[in-house]
Symmetry: C2
Subunit: 601 residues, 2 copies
C-alpha cells in the first residue's frame, strides 16, 4: 500500500515539509490548505516540486461547512468549491476532503445533505475531481462515519465517497467493524492517527494530542484491517495534530512518522491483529537479556571508584580500546574512555541479547534505526550495533556471543561482592520533544513492550515515566521525561540517568559496601515515620530499613528494598532487592529520592 502523510503533521514551511516527507520515504502527501495558502510558491511550483521529488499529492484538505445548509448559502458553497477545484487542477490533485459541517449547518436532514453533496460531486466531476466526505467527531449533525456513509450511499454519485479518519471514529468509541460494509471503491481515503486515551473534549484532544500509530491507545491494525477487508486500496495516510511535533525538526518527525507506518504494516502483514500486546513483538524479535551497560567520559575514575565501592571488580582493560569492564554476578558495566567528546560520565549505550542478533539488527534498521559503526580488530566479536533516535548505542549480541565479548577485556583483579546478581533495569532521560519517538523506537525496533506511563512529583516538576520491558521479564527499561521548563535550572542535572543493580540481601551488601566507602542518598526520618503510619510493617523490619537507609515498597506479590548512590556526571546507581516477585520500580518513593538529590545538587 502507498504511504502518505498530511503536511499539518510537521513543522516548517510547505517546501521544508515536502522535502522532509520525501526524505523519510513516503509515497504521497496530503496538502493541508493553510500550508499552501501561506506558501509563497504557486500551486504550479508545488506541483512541479512534488513531481521532481516523486511525491504524489493524494489529497487536498479540508473543505469545510458544505452540506446541510439553506439553498442561498449552498450557492456560496459551490462558488467556494469551484475556486478550489481550479486550484486543485493547478496543483494536480484529484481528491478533496470535505468534512461534515460544524459551523453553518441548519438542516439536519440526510436527504438534503445527500442532495447537496451529490451536486458538489457533480461539479467536482466536471473538473475530473472527486469528493471524500468525512464525519468529524464534532460535526454539528453528522459525527458518525456510518451516517456519513449512508448519506454518500443515498447521494449515489461516482465522484462522491467517504474518508475514514481513525481518530474521529475511535475517539467516540464507534465500532469500526461497519467499515467492512462500505464498498472498497467508495472508501476514497483513509487517515490514521493514534491518541492517548484521555477524558477531555474531543476537539481539543484531536487538535493537540494525536499521536502516530502505535504510540497511543487505539487499535489501528484492526481499524486498517477493516478498511482492507472492505477492499480499500488507496494510501494509508497519517494525519496527526500534535503540539510537540508542530515545534520539532520536520525531518526527524517525518522519519518517526514513517517508522510508525512501517510497524503498522508489519502488524498487518503478519495478521496478528487480535490483541495490543501481540502487536509489536513476538518472542523472536524480543530481547532475552540485558547484556551490559556502557558509560562514557574522558575520565571515568569516579565511576570506577563508585562501582568498586558497590562491590564490582575490574574484569580487565579492552585489548584495543580505552575501555574497562567492571562486573559482578551477571551485571557488566563498560567504562569507555575511547575517543569521547562527552564531558561528564553518562550512559552512552547498552547491550541486549537476542536469539538472532543479526536478524534483530536488520529488523531495527528496516524500522528506521541507524546502524552504529564499531571499530573491530581481528579476533574481536563483531556485534551489530544500532543507534536510538537520541544516539544511544545498542549493541546486539546472541546467546553465545554475549558470553564471548568479555574475554576481550584482560588483566582482571579481585572478586566481586557476591551480593550483586545483575542489572535490574536502566533508567534513561528523554526531553519531552523526543519521548514519543523514543518509546516507538524501543517498543518496535527493539521489540520491547510498552507499559502504562506514570507521573511522579519531583521538587522541580512532574516527571513522566514510561516503562518498557521484554515480556519474559529479562529486560526492563524506564524512560523519564524531564519537566521541560526546569531544564535550564541547575537542579535539572539531578534528573539523571541511572542503572539499577539487582542484589540479594541488600542490607548486608550495603554494610559491606559502606565499609568500602559507599555513600548513599540519605533518606529522611520523616519518610520512616510515614512508612510506619502507612504500612503494617513489623517494628524490627522498620528498624532494619531505617538503620540501613533503605526505601521500601510492596505490591500484591512481594516487596522492594532500594537505595541510591551519589551522582557522578549525570549517572547514579540504584541498588535494589526484589522479594517474592515484586514487579514495580518503587515509584511511590521517587519524590523522596528526587528531593534528596535536589537538596544535594
Amino acid at each position: 500500500m502507498r504511504t502518505s502523510i498530511a503536511t499539518v503533521c510537521l513543522s516548517g514551511t510547505l517546501v521544508d515539509k515536502l522535502h522532509a516527507i520525501t526524505d523519510a520515504g513516503f509515497d504521497d502527501v496530503e496538502i493541508f490548505e493553510p500550508d499552501l495558502i501561506a506558501a509563497p510558491q504557486s500551486p504550479e511550483e508545488i506541483r512541479a516540486l512534488c513531481e521532481r521529488l516523486g511525491l504524489g499529492i493524494a489529497l487536498y484538505q479540508p473543505f469545510r461547512d458544505a452540506e446541510g445548509v439553506v439553498e442561498h448559502e449552498f450557492a456560496r458553497v459551490l462558488q467556494r468549491a469551484e475556486a478550489k477545484f481550479q486550484l486543485m487542477d493547478r496543483l494536480g490533485v484529484d481528491t478533496m476532503l470535505v468534512c461534515s459541517n460544524v459551523a453553518t449547518a441548519t438542516i439536519d436532514d440526510d436527504d438534503v445533505s445527500a442532495d447537496q453533496l451529490a451536486r458538489l460531486a457533480e461539479r467536482a466531476d466536471a473538473h475530473g475531481k472527486r469528493i471524500a466526505f468525512e464525519a468529524l467527531a464534532w460535526g454539528r449533525y453528522i459525527d458518525d462515519y456510518r451516517r456519513a456513509w449512508s448519506i454518500v450511499e443515498r447521494a449515489d454519485h461516482p465522484a462522491l465517497g467517504v474518508c475514514l479518519d481513525s481518530f474521529h471514529i475511535l475517539s467516540l468509541g464507534h465500532d469500526p467493524a461497519a467499515i467492512e460494509r462500505i464498498p472498497g471503491d467508495k472508501i476514497f481515503f483513509v487517515q490514521l492517527a493514534d491518541a492517548p486515551i484521555l477524558s477531555m473534549d474531543v476537539l481539543s484532544w484531536s487538535r493537540h494530542h494525536r499521536l502516530f500509530p502505535g504510540e497511543g491507545g487505539f487499535d489501528l491494525p484492526a481499524f486498517v484491517a477493516h478498511a482492507l477487508r472492505a477492499g480499500y486500496a488507496g494510501p494509508l495516510s497519517l494525519e496527526v495534530f500534535n503540539d510537540v511535533f508542530r515545534q520539532t525538526d520536520p525531518a526527524r518527525t517525518a522519519l518517526h512518522a514513517a517508522r510508525s507506518l512501517t510497524v503498522l504494516q508489519d502488524a498487518l502483514d503478519v495478521g496478528r491483529l487480535a490483541s495490543d500486546s501481540d502487536r509489536h513483538s513476538d518472542s523472536s524479535s524480543e530481547p532475552l537479556e540485558l547484556d551490559q551497560v556502557e558509560l562514557k567520559a574522558p575520565d571515568t575514575d569516579e565511576v570506577a571508584a563508585l562501582l568498586e565501592r558497590i562491590g564490582f571488580a575490574p574484569r580487565g582493560r579492552h585489548v584495543s580500546k580505552s575501555a574497562w569492564l567492571y562486573a559482578a554476578g551477571e551485571a557488566r558495566l563498560v567504562l569507555n574512555e575511547h575517543n569521547v567528546s562527552i564531558a561528564e560520565p553518562r550512559i552512552a549505550g547498552f547491550g541486549l541479547r537476542y536469539a538472532e542478533p543479526h536478524g534483530a539488527a536488520s529488523r531495527a534498521e528496516r524500522l528506521g534505526a541507524r546502524r552504529a559503526h564499531r571499530r573491530v580488530l581481528s579476533g574481536e566479536a563483531d556485534l551489530p550495533a544500532i543507534l536510538s533516535p537520541d544516539g544511544t548505542e545498542i549493541l546486539l549480541s546472541g546467546p553465545d556471543s554475549g558470553i564471548r565479548w568479555p574475554e576481550e577485556f584482560t588483566g582482571g583483579r579481585g572478586a566481586p561482592d557476591p551480593g550483586i546478581l545483575g542489572i535490574d533495569h536502566i533508567n534513561l532521560t528523554e526531553p519531552v520533544a523526543d519521548i514519543e519517538e523514543a518509546v516507538l523506537f524501543y517498543s518496535t525496533a527493539l521489540g520491547l513492550t510498552r507499559e502504562s506511563a506514570a507521573e511522579l512529583a519531583g521538587p522541580t516538576g512532574l516527571v513522566r515515566s514510561q516503562v518498557l520491558r521484554s515480556r519474559a521479564g529479562g529486560v526492563r527499561l524506564a524512560l523519564n521525561v524531564v519537566p521541560p521548563l526546569s531544564e535550564q535550572r541547575p537542579a535539572a542535572r539531578r534528573h539523571a540517568q541511572h542503572v539499577a543493580i539487582a542484589c540479594v540481601d541488600l542490607p548486608s551488601l550495603l554494610t559491606r559496601a559502606r565499609a568500602r566507602g559507599l555513600r548513599t542518598v540519605p533518606v529522611s526520618e520523616n519518610y520512616y515515620d510515614d512508612l510506619a503510619a502507612r504500612l503494617d510493617l513489623p517494628d524490627e523490619e522498620l528498624v532494619r530499613l531505617r538503620s540501613a537507609g533503605l526505601l521500601y515498597d510492596r505490591d500484591e506479590a512481594g516487596e522492594y528494598l532500594h537505595c541510591y548512590t551519589e551522582t557522578v556526571g549525570t549517572v547514579f546507581f540504584e541498588l535494589v532487592e526484589r522479594r517474592d516477585g515484586y514487579d514495580g520500580f518503587g515509584a511511590a518513593n521517587t519524590p523522596v529520592r528526587l528531593t534528596a538529590q535536589h537538596a544535594a545538587a
Copy 2:
C-alpha cells in the same frame, strides 16, 4: 483576613518553599505531607523555622481514605491517624485536612461516615487537634460539599468541621450559595484555586491546571463572600496544583500568588462581586490611552530608518539622555540608546495615561509591582514608573503630563506622514512560564481587562495569544506565548514583539512609504486566491489588496487591512487600518504572517 498558601503550589524543597512564602508576605502555610516526608529536617526543625520566620502552620494535609470503610479497615485508619496527630504535635499544627474517600470506601451511608468521622474527631480532640473534612470532586461517594456538611452536621463533634475548596465546588458547577447555611465556626478552612474552564476529567484538571485567583474562569470573590457571610474567620489559603508553577522559581511564584490574593481581597473590600468584568478594574484605575512605546538598544539606527520610511518624523533628541522621539499623529516612539545592555532593539517599555497616575502607580505597587528608577533632571517630567514581572518599564502619565514630556525632546525636523493616526496596539511575547503572572499583572496592577485567549498555528508551533484592553478601548495589549520547544530554534526569533500603527487610507500610505524605501513582508498569491474563494469581496477591492500587499479580515462591524514590516532585532511594526468599528486583530491571518517571517528568517 490571614493569607495562606499550600507548599504544593511551589517548586523546590520544603525549606526553600517556606522562605519563599515568608518573603512574599503570607501569614500562614499549609504543609503538604509529601513535602514534609521528603524533607531531611525533623518536624521540630520545621516548626522552629516557621516560628523564626513568623509563619503560622495553618493546616496539615491531606489525610486520605478515612470514612465509609468496614470496621476492621477503620481500625487501621485510626492507627494511621494517631501517628499523624503525634506528628502534628511535633509540628505544632492544629488542623488536619481529611478528604473524602476515593480508594477504600465500600459503604455509601452517611450515618456510617458521620460515625467514623466523629470517632476520628474524638481521637483528634484528645490531642487538641481538629479535622477539616473536604469533599473531593472525585470522591467515591462524597463529592459535594453540601453532603460533606450534612455528614459533619450529623456527626456533631466540636473537633469536626468542613474544609471548602473552591476548585472541588466550582469545577462540578455546584452552587456555592449554600455555603451560607453552614455556621461560620464549622468552616474550619477555605482553600482557593482558580482554573480555566476546560472540558476534561476533573482529576487531571485539578492536578495540572489550577491557577491562582483571577487567572481562570471561576468567580472566587463571590465564593469567598459566601464563606464570609457564613461567618468564616480563618485564613484564605491558596492550593494550586499547576505543572508550570511546579517548575518555576518558588520566590517569584510566591509573590505572584500573594498578588492574586491581594487582588481578591480588594475585590471583596469594594464589595463589587456581581460580575466578572467589574472585578478587576473600575474606570479610575483603568488607563485612558497609550502614551508612547520605548525601544532600547545600543544602536537604534535601523529602527529609526524603518520609522522614517513608515512616515514618522524625528521630534528631537532628549535634553539629558541618549534618546530620540519619533512621532506621527498620536503615535510616539522613543528610541533609547542610553545605558543599554540589550544587544538588539526590543520593546523595553511603554507609557500609559491615567486620570491619576500617582494613584495608579501606588495601586500597582501594592499589587506587587516594583517601582522603576528613572533619572530625572531639573525641569523634566517626573513620572512614576513601574516594572512588569519580566522587567518591561511602564511609565504612568496623566492626561496633562502626557502632553508635556515630549517637550524634553528638541531639534525636531520634517513633518510626519498624515496617514498615521496613532498606536493601535502593542504585541509582547512571554515565555510559557511567565504568561499567567504577566496576565495577572496587566489585568490587575495596570487595570486592563482580559479577553479570551486564542491559539494560532505558526510554522514552528501553536502560538497562544492573550488580549488585554481598557474597556473604553484606548489601550490594547496582546501577549503571545512562544511555543516552548521551539525557543531554541533560530526561527523563534521571529516570534518577535511588535507595535501596530493605526493608519487612515493604508493603501495610499503604503504607496508613499514604499517610495521612501519601506519593504513589507510579502503576502503569498495563494492567500489572495483563498480570500477570493472565501469572501464575497468586489473584484476591484481584491485587486487593490493584492497590489498593495495587504492582508484582510472582517467581522460583523467592519474591516481590517494590515501588513508587516521587516524585523529589526526582535521588533517589527504592523500597519493597520480599522474600518467601521472592526474590533479584532486579524488573527486569521497570523499563520500567513508567521510563515512569511519564518521563511525570511
